[in-house]
Symmetry: C2
Amino acid sequence: MFSQAEENYIKTIYTLQNGTKTVINTNLIAYKINTKASSVTDMIKKLSVKELLTYKKYQGVQLTERGEKIALKVIRKHRLWEYFLVKKLNYSWDEVHDIAEQLEHIKSDTLIDKLESYLQFPKFDPHGDPIPDRDGKIILTKTVNLLNLKVGQKGTLDSLKDSSDVFLKYLNKKQLALRDRIKVIDIEPFDNSIHIETKTHQLVISKKVAENLNIKI
Amino acid sequence: MFSQAEENYIKTIYTLQNGTKTVINTNLIAYKINTKASSVTDMIKKLSVKELLTYKKYQGVQLTERGEKIALKVIRKHRLWEYFLVKKLNYSWDEVHDIAEQLEHIKSDTLIDKLESYLQFPKFDPHGDPIPDRDGKIILTKTVNLLNLKVGQKGTLDSLKDSSDVFLKYLNKKQLALRDRIKVIDIEPFDNSIHIETKTHQLVISKKVAENLNIKI
DNA sequence: AAATATATTTAGACTTATCTAAAACTAAAT
DNA sequence: ATTTAGTTTTAGATAAGTCTAAATATATTT
Ligand SMILES: [Mn+2]
Ligand SMILES: [Mn+2]
Ligand SMILES: [Mn+2]
Ligand SMILES: [Mn+2]
């Protein structure tokens, strides 16, 4: 079994690798995990000994197969718990992340499978992110970020690049939700802000917002 | 906020005090928490500084009001999660304790109240133990242990003194469940074993079993 | 190619929670 | 009232995970 700290490092590195085999450097991990580079070095040495990642001094790290398996298990737990919190306990999507950060570390061979079955095998979490199945298989949806759409083009809001509660609250306020059909009305060349239209209303979003919206065409 | 270790000590001491103001000694805590007396001494010093208990060297400890409040919160969480696991995830009552030991430490101001509401405010956990409300109030049911019943007397199995999975599995095997109506048929003077009758069958239980069964008359 | 800036690692320290072994205290027995 | 037994505390060590500050390696400029 792995400690919470170990699981968090593995999960963070997996997320940073983002499905690819990119080498991840110490500072980036430190930033994401909100700790110091020296702590990261200590931990990746440990994880390297446990063969969850490969590590060459000064050269960054890469998860092994084993490491990816662990990461996917933790992510599976995180997302299933988020789904539970929203669907069963009536939390809103911007309130569940921190609780799921804790619940994802509960150790049990059966718990998460029973939870999944109770929730009727959801495929996506409240933020549109796919939930890995018990074998670690994951549904990859092809999306582009909203910045790539041309004027007149339409697409569906599928998921988010940034799921921080600040951003989620912004989306609440602007009445943008997953599965919304979005049409690009106009693009402002000066600051790349985008005028969009949904079924119910129109609004202007900044470049920064647009690049956090993953669109399925 | 308190660490998991701190919460476990407080909860254990509360359970040992058993509603009274008994002074609890170091060795007993060590035994219950499966650690060494020296570790207990270290921890109770810490908890004493935090004013969760009063402690005089060599004289044992007693929870303060504050300490009891904390204990009741942890117990509330433990029992609500156990109820969730049995009622929603279809665990059996002998499988839930270890998972609840972990879940009881999840930190959130809202989670447990939402869970309670979702579960429709259960008053007892799967082992018949009362669930404290958000203010720490607890329903005390007056019971006696089965040893105290005389031949011919009847009562209802209300809760258990020992809820270890070994004992719970014994009860499963013997088809004894909470709320069962039990009648004492005969008491064997030699070893205090008791011949009992339920709605469905008769059986003989040992003294050790009998004293773990809390009966409501 | 050297100098400078940036990134990473090492060294040493700290905190929490634990342990063993020894010392100090209390309770029980003679 | 001593001795003995049992309990509790202290002293010192260890492991996990973190930190700061210094040392070292790599990358970027000049
Ligand atoms: Mn999340
Ligand atoms: Mn999510
Ligand atoms: Mn329990
Ligand atoms: Mn219980």
